[in-house]
Symmetry: C2
Subunit: 329 residues, 2 copies
Amino acid sequence: MKSICGHSGPIQRRAMAKAITLLESTRADHRTQGDALLTALLPHTGRALRLGISGVPGVGKSTFIEALGLYLVRQGLKVAVLAIDPSSSVTGGSILGDKTRMEQLCAEEAAYIRPSPSSGTLGGVAEKTREAMLVCEAAGYDVVIVETVGVGQSETAVHGMTDMFCVLQLPNAGDDLQAIKKGVMELADLVVINKADIDPAAATRAQAQITSSLRLLGFHGNPEHDPHNAQQWTPKVLQISALQQQGVDGFWAAVQDYRQMQSANGRLAARREKQALAWMWERIDFGLKQAFRAHPQVQALLPQMQADVAAGRIAASTAARNLLAAHMG
Amino acid sequence: MKSICGHSGPIQRRAMAKAITLLESTRADHRTQGDALLTALLPHTGRALRLGISGVPGVGKSTFIEALGLYLVRQGLKVAVLAIDPSSSVTGGSILGDKTRMEQLCAEEAAYIRPSPSSGTLGGVAEKTREAMLVCEAAGYDVVIVETVGVGQSETAVHGMTDMFCVLQLPNAGDDLQAIKKGVMELADLVVINKADIDPAAATRAQAQITSSLRLLGFHGNPEHDPHNAQQWTPKVLQISALQQQGVDGFWAAVQDYRQMQSANGRLAARREKQALAWMWERIDFGLKQAFRAHPQVQALLPQMQADVAAGRIAASTAARNLLAAHMG
């Protein structure tokens, strides 16, 4: 899958796109080359700020990311925009898939935009995006934005690979409840109320409501968010209007405050280390399950075991022990 | 671990307790006997109603369960009360561990009360409770109540083994938000506002608030709760006062409505089948991870891989592939 920007970029960008394509390949020989490439690139990664942007469809993510990207490019920064959309393999790409989106940012030399990898499971899609992020960092990009559609578990995946996780909200209380229900709100380092210009009174109400929700959620034992610790980031709620390009400077100032504070108190480094180890275990779990399902003895026994468990002829725990014995034996 | 009721019960109850103790044993020969026992019991299980009761500490779960249990015993039903408390191995049992609790229910011949198994992981604790539930069913108990502490992931485990999941709440909006945050509210088939007698006005406010929250949560694509389908259960919110023994009859009427509707529309059978298969896969996953960590090649390689990933010397996905290769090879 190529960059969605039509114009031909500098040689470095083409090499980068080629590297990402190699890492996205499922061919075994490509995978071996890809692992060697990653290991070689790794010492040159880690200097970028990794920014996750989430929000339900219609909240205005693309407009916001384009406004932010253009703002950063004007500051002399190089910006990469990646995406995680596990539905893109089905729908053909619901975010970043449309070449007419982010047209202005696309035209910038210092910007690189790539749609979601479209293969398979969320875990697989997330892995390819993580690896693409490392390539962008090694290529000298200063900010890597990872966009996610506001559905399913993709927010958790993006939170698990970024330094700062931002949730875009409409000035709408039901929306707020949905984000709490899905556990997205408690992941947020920054909540951005977009389209604030349309109804300023509603936006101000939403800001107060979400601030109070975050406080209630945070008070109940979330060790990441201790409101009594001044050396530590407390999630903030901002109003912006991406369409009017209002509030982008305030957003970026908050991001920089966050980065500075979390670097100084060691939490940024700790978060990255935790993310990398969690990523390793996630891929191990996935590989173990895959190997289990592909095992001939398991494949021979599984249909009968599943039928027996479903019909109540054998206890689930007994069936699990039988299948594990078949796999190990 | 024995029943917490001090008096000696009928022979059947002693045999039941012995069977559960066998299933709770971690000895390999006991496990083999246990599996044979489970398979023999299984045709005699499934006739009980499996009722999950959740709620934060202080909400009055024990008082409620005792009032409900006594009510059911008086109706001529046999009641078993089990518990899931993953913290009990640490704390020595924070629920059902105290012999002075549920004294009246303990004194009933038709009631059986057993504290949480205290071994290891939540998955392990849940497995033993599931198996104990099957033993109680085979022994002819009509209602099996599974109590959970309102912390961690134990609610999900109890929801995954019961026919109906009830959440006890205090008349308190922050409490409501916490349950939504933890994803507990969307699991609820029935929400019970306990201690309604203390502040009737607050209880009525809470009932309206939670009803509206449930509607908002349900509207957004939870296929289990379609408010437009009259043949299907919509989560209800009730007020009770367990201490005053008020509302227990209304609670039991709602449970029976639920059971009748979900039996008629086939959802009860479908839920049990899905639960059994999910339980099987959960135990398989656990077994795979355990075997992986115990593998000599993995144990030899893991410390270095973890250190390299944490220090950013190797990509997490590469480390995962290396470890999987060591395990398979």
